[in-house]
Symmetry: C2
Subunit: 786 residues, 2 copies
């Protein structure tokens, strides 16, 4: 372990040169189309026609990068760098190029003058690279386009990586977001023995886009109280004079790394238990540091005006052009790059070597490190099913047993996240194999709380999602279980992760990572304890807007299908899998071998429930989701009794994507197969778990679409019984029978009295429920009678 | 102002009786079907068949309610009560009944034995009331089903209500959420002169559903540092012995109210400027306080086991039944309720009178206080349009001028929220009339920052939304402007607000409130500075899942239509209005009178752009959104040149709901009108702002739906030029022409070379963009040439 010794003047000069080089390369990316080394006077033709990018945060990002490199070299420290202010893309790219990684990944952007010209031109340029720290950026696992998730990603990366330090810049803008504000508490879930460390660097440059930032404008004493209260020991580094800032930052980083090492050493040699205060750094430096001090008489450096492009008129205003040239030359490029445009040897030596370069660290390309999960045979957890619909199981409880053994077989690369709902979602058997991680004070009345564990529960869907993303992006596996309605809290995070995956699909050097698996239980139809606020199946609609090659949605109708789907999802790569499953005792429909076959097809006719006898049906009853399947089968039973001659086909859908045309989604059924299942001319009554429009949206191009009638959740609900819920939304078995009567022409007029009998029965059942406070046994204890 | 004097023994006995009554009523709601006053021994038949509800938090909510009543009476304080742990619905209902409000609102639930029986039975009962603090609960503006928003709602309610104190219970579970963690900083945006006060009560009972809560398990010193750091002065109240807790809480509340009054007095009499530390209370009390200590040998009171229903087996286990009876009788109901079951006089006197009752405070039924906005004539802000498509305007800039004058005319009941994007979204003219509120330190380099102002900017969409909801629910008006992609951050909050509005529609006593207005600018098509992370038009899909009577979506194609739509939204009530509009300079299409007519219809044929001459068209070009409208008109121009005889109809859609059948949405076009616009048999090429499926979803029941071909955002994007973006998604004018060629049979084979010319032109334009870094003048400077 090194000691915190003051830098020598030489070291200051060296690190300052490195910083100047990164700053020069950052400004160059924003402005220059040509003349990258300023070998000739800067002219209009050297300037990009559209000036796009964010300068303000870039010098601070570069400053930290240079200093982190110093401690990496000094200590051989394994470290990755998460840049919360991801709009500072030029900084990340500049450093990757300085370290040589950029040219290794993208050989056409060589580490010389020609490559530098390409580096500059491609930035924010059509056909080039994005303005943010994007998947295209080597060393990045965090784009930062949408602010709030840097620190959660950092902790996710640190879990189960005991030798890794994750440096994480938190911008003072991002620090105002809710997810970031909650993320500070992640340290209560990090184990100094088995996990790595996160080094937060709160970078206060005072401004957001146009406004002051809150944390930059409270008294320093209050800020320190806040960070102390979050459980950190802040080290303050403030100023704007480069040489003294270099010295202060070096001392601060050495202190912080020493403290991290001391905490880990104490914990790992058994001397220390209990939570510690981890170090962090507060860096106060001017926004747009080293950029133009004033433009057109208005202050720029140190103000919000430096947020994007400080000199906007460079192409048309000779004064701006001259000021840009002066700014660029202030970094003295002639000292930094040799005749061929390569960083001079003294600079190259300041970068760490090989995989210690943060831009080349394999943790930031997690697929490189990914090991497949060791999975027990999910068939061993099956519910016994001799006859459909006569025995019951709690599907998620069976999955929980499987997950328990997944945990046992994968003690350090699999985690289950949840917002305090793992037991409530009936996955509780996992606690036979592991505990919930918690570093706060523990009481005897607690259950399954420990310093280490595979289950992470915090009442923040943002943290669950952010931790899991960070964990997956660094090459591990996991599952997020959530109440269905509240997964909407992370709609935006899901969007961003799906976008990330979509872009990585086009980058062969980014290796596939484990899929992000959602288990949505406590779903819309069984919110018995809660009510309307807990009833929302709309996450599926959000998911289906993302690229078809990324997203998968599964609605297993019973326990064995859930096991089969669960196993499949844990083996998959680069997807977002959404599984919706019940936790309440529910009828089992399929023995395991049939469940596997059904899940493999993703959709199929349930012949044992159908009465068509292989002939053309008169009507198709389709269903997706556990409760809709139950109601559909009960409707099929009613139809069998009421209309013995009616040919009814029951189709169950597990894999929602099968409904889309094969031209739209890789899982889409070819039209001929769709038509063979649903017919092209017979009425289809589709009982769906979610909002009914979604089925129309998926199937609107199918030939028989005009015959498709969908029942689903129509935003009616409250605290009531399960059957009352389906009645409120016209998804109940009696209403499905009425739908059949309304749509099968051969039944039509003859059976008005039967239709009325169904309608009356609904009213009677509702009256029963309202009188007795529970569903009638007729519906609550119904089993498949054949 | 009262002094903090210790309670007398008599006062303790009185307040404890009130608390016991509320606790009794809470337990009764969870368990009892009958025998509400325990006038006979408790028997199985008195117990509800399904035991649903949350006991754990209820005694704490009741404790605070009783004590807040004390200070309301003592000071005549105007106060409302926000219960973050909204699952403690029994507590809110119990207190409303004790105060008499419940029976005033719902006369059938009278304040006597018969009413008490109804009160108990209806709770979490089919046909009854929800288990949460729902819209049905008098005195509530906050349901709390989804945790995280209590404190933001509280601050929203306090803004511009200088005499109001909003007491806000923050549960230790909710405190872990991101939105809540950020909400503490709301005090930096509250003005002690013109705003009221928020009194946060952090209620630490140690557990969430099954896990310890973070803030309850950190050392008290650390907790105090955290709250100090958030800018508060915490007063601690800890214990479990009722009498001493009553004394401590009374002192704490008197202190807190005194401090609030002192801060306000100092600020309002001009003596004090700058931000102050507001008081808050930390209440540590056992979860499930006064409930069963142990059940079946396991600890319950003070543990997670008291979260929902502590005695689960009451109907089948005589031991549990006896324990419930003992628990209920421990509150000594015979002392609390008279022979008729009314609260005894001593209790009734402890409740405040009239509108000072928190359950009857008009601020919690904001429609009662709502005053219409004074609106300037939006026509006065019109862009001059002599000829379509030849002059340009920045639509949001014109709206900004209108809003500037709305601000001037409504200085204390209208606010604009935004995540640091008000200027970026080009609404900056509002700063001629007002400032951004900010109570942090202000520097000379800041612009438009002041202690008071109508604009609230914080880098948290959660806070923007939460503040605005609280502001609207208490009877005021506002607008939330956001980058389109990042409004997904509040998907879940939108869902909950829409659900709240839906339920209030069925409650005549809840008066209509102002609509929640979203202005989504910096939209998917013009993320020139950013890129893929900033490109997501999917909020519309989320919105359309909610009840049609609540949601409205507008896509004004130019400046004048935006003004017309903006005016309309600010006048509306009980809706969520979503307006998507551009901020970049864009062509003006309609003079103001035509814009008004077009917006009034919501959809219409643009005859000046069509070539059908009133005859049947060969093809319909439909469009919704500013960029799709531009591309559609450019395509119409191309078609006019390429195929002079082709009869093209251009239809523009402002009000997206017009596409739905009138049976599905109040704004839906009758089928005959839809058919008259779109034809039933001609190809319709629809250029849409968002994901194309949304149009199919809205129009799938229309006769001509199989002829509908939609272009929209298909999740392709990066940092590039505007025209490259539309090309990436096949929404560009050339592709629209190709779509027409592909679908108009009379053109078909003859014109393969013209189709090829279009395809080639696209490649040339892309090559131009990639070479020059900007769009060719042909597309970037295109104007309507007729």
């Amino acid at each position: 372990m090194s000691e915190a010794v003051a830098m020598t003047d030489d070291e200051v000069r060296q690190i300052d040169a490195y910083w100047r080089a990164a700053n020069y390369l950052s400004v160059g990316q924003i402005y220059l189309l040509d003349n990258p080394l300023l070998r000739e006077p800067l002219a209009r033709r050297h300037i990009k026609p559209r000036l796009l990018g964010h300068w303000g945060t870039s010098p601070g990002l570069n400053f930290c990068y240079a200093h982190l490199n110093r401690v990496i070299r000094a200590r051989g420290q394994d470290m990755i760098y998460i840049m919360g202010p991801g709009h500072g893309g030029p900084a990340a790219v500049a450093n990757a190029w300085l370290e040589g990684t950029y040219s290794e990944v993208y050989p056409e952007v060589s580490r010389d003058a020609r490559g530098m010209a390409r580096l500059f031109r491609q930035f924010s340029f059509p056909g080039g690279i994005p303005s943010h720290v994007a998947p295209e950026t080597p060393g990045s696992i965090h784009e930062g386009g949408e602010l709030g998730y840097s620190l959660a990603h950092a902790f996710g990366a640190a879990f189960d990586n005991p030798d890794l330090v994750v440096a994480c810049i938190v911008g003072d803008g991002e620090a105002e977001t809710g997810p970031l504000a909650a993320s500070w508490h992640s340290s209560k879930f990090l184990d100094p023995v088995a996990d790595g460390a996160v080094l937060p660097i709160l970078h206060l440059n005072g401004y957001k886009i146009a406004n002051p930032a809150v944390l930059a404008r409270i008294p320093e004493e209050e800020l320190v109280q806040l960070l102390d209260g979050y459980g950190y020991r802040p080290v303050l580094v403030s100023g704007d004079e480069p040489a003294s800032m270099h010295r202060k930052m070096a001392v601060a980083l050495d202190q912080a790394l020493d403290e991290i090492a001391a905490i880990q050493h104490a914990a790992r040699t058994g001397g220390a238990t209990g939570r510690r205060r981890w170090p962090m750094i507060v860096l106060r430096s001017p926004k747009g540091w080293t950029g133009p001090k004033e433009v057109d008489g208005l202050p720029v450096e140190g103000t919000w005006r430096s947020h994007q492009v400080p000199l906007g008129g460079v192409r048309d205003d000779p004064g701006h052009l001259a000021q840009l040239e002066e700014w660029l030359r202030s970094y003295r490029p002639e000292e930094l790059f040799d005749d061929e445009g390569r960083p001079v040897a003294g600079l190259r030596d300041l970068a760490p070597a090989g995989e210690l370069r943060m831009s080349a660290n394999p943790h930031a390309n997690g697929g490189l490190l990914l090991k497949p999960l060791v999975l027990p045979d999910f068939r061993d957890y099956a519910a016994q099913v001799d006859k459909p619909g006569t025995t019951t199981a709690e599907p998620t409880r069976l999955l929980g047993r499987f997950l328990r053994d997944v945990v046992r077989a994968n003690p350090s690369n699999f985690r289950i996240m949840g917002a305090d709902e793992t037991a409530s979602n009936r996955l509780g058997d996992v606690f036979e194999a592991t505990d919930r991680v918690f570093q706060g004070e523990r009481y005897p009345t607690d259950e399954h709380q420990a310093a280490q564990g595979r289950v992470m529960e915090v009442l923040s869907e943002h943290l669950c999602q952010g931790w899991l993303e960070g964990y997956l992006l660094t090459g591990r596996h996991g599952l997020f279980n959530s109440y269905e309605a509240f997964v909407h809290i992370v709609d935006a995070m899901f969007n961003q992760h799906a976008k990330w995956l979509k872009v990585t699909r086009g980058l062969p050097w980014r290796r596939p990572i484990a899929s992000l698996n959602y288990l949505l239980s406590s779903h819309v139809w069984r919110q018995d304890h809660n009510g309307f606020t807990h009833q929302d199946p709309g996450f599926l609609d959000v998911v289906l807007n993302k690229k078809p090659e990324i997203v998968r949605v599964y609605l297993p109708p019973d326990a064995n299908t859930l096991l089969s789907v669960g196993d499949h999802c844990l083996r998959s790569r680069d997807y977002v899998n959404v599984v919706v499953a019940g936790k309440q005792p529910a009828l089992n429909w399929l023995p395991m071998d049939e469940a596997i076959a059904h899940c493999t097809r993703g959709i199929g006719i349930w012949e044992w429930a159908s009465t068509e006898g292989g002939a053309d049906p008169d009507v198709v009853l389709a269903c997706a989701g556990d409760v809709p399947t139950l109601e559909t089968l009960a409707a099929a039973d009613l139809l069998r009794r009421l209309f013995p001659d009616l040919r009814v086909r029951v189709v169950n859908v597990v894999d929602l994507m099968r409904l889309q045309p094969s031209s739209e989604h890789p899982h889409g059924l070819p039209d001929a197969e769709y038509d063979a299942l649903f017919t092209t001319d017979k009425p289809v009554i589709f009982a769906f778990h979610g909002y009914p429009y979604l089925i129309h949206r998926l199937a609107y191009r199918r030939r028989g679409h005009h015959n498709l009638h969908v029942r689903g959740y129509k935003e009616e609900g409250t605290t009531t019984t399960p059957f009352d819920m389906v009645m409120l939304n016209d998804l109940d078995r009696f209403h499905l029978v009425m739908d059949v009567i309304d749509r099968v022409p051969s039944l039509g007029g003859r059976v008005a009295h039967l239709r009325q009998r169904m309608a009356d029965r609904r009213l009677e059942l509702r009256a029963h429920t309202r009188e007795h406070g529970e569903d009638a046994p007729e519906v609550s204890d119904w089993t498949w009678p054949y």
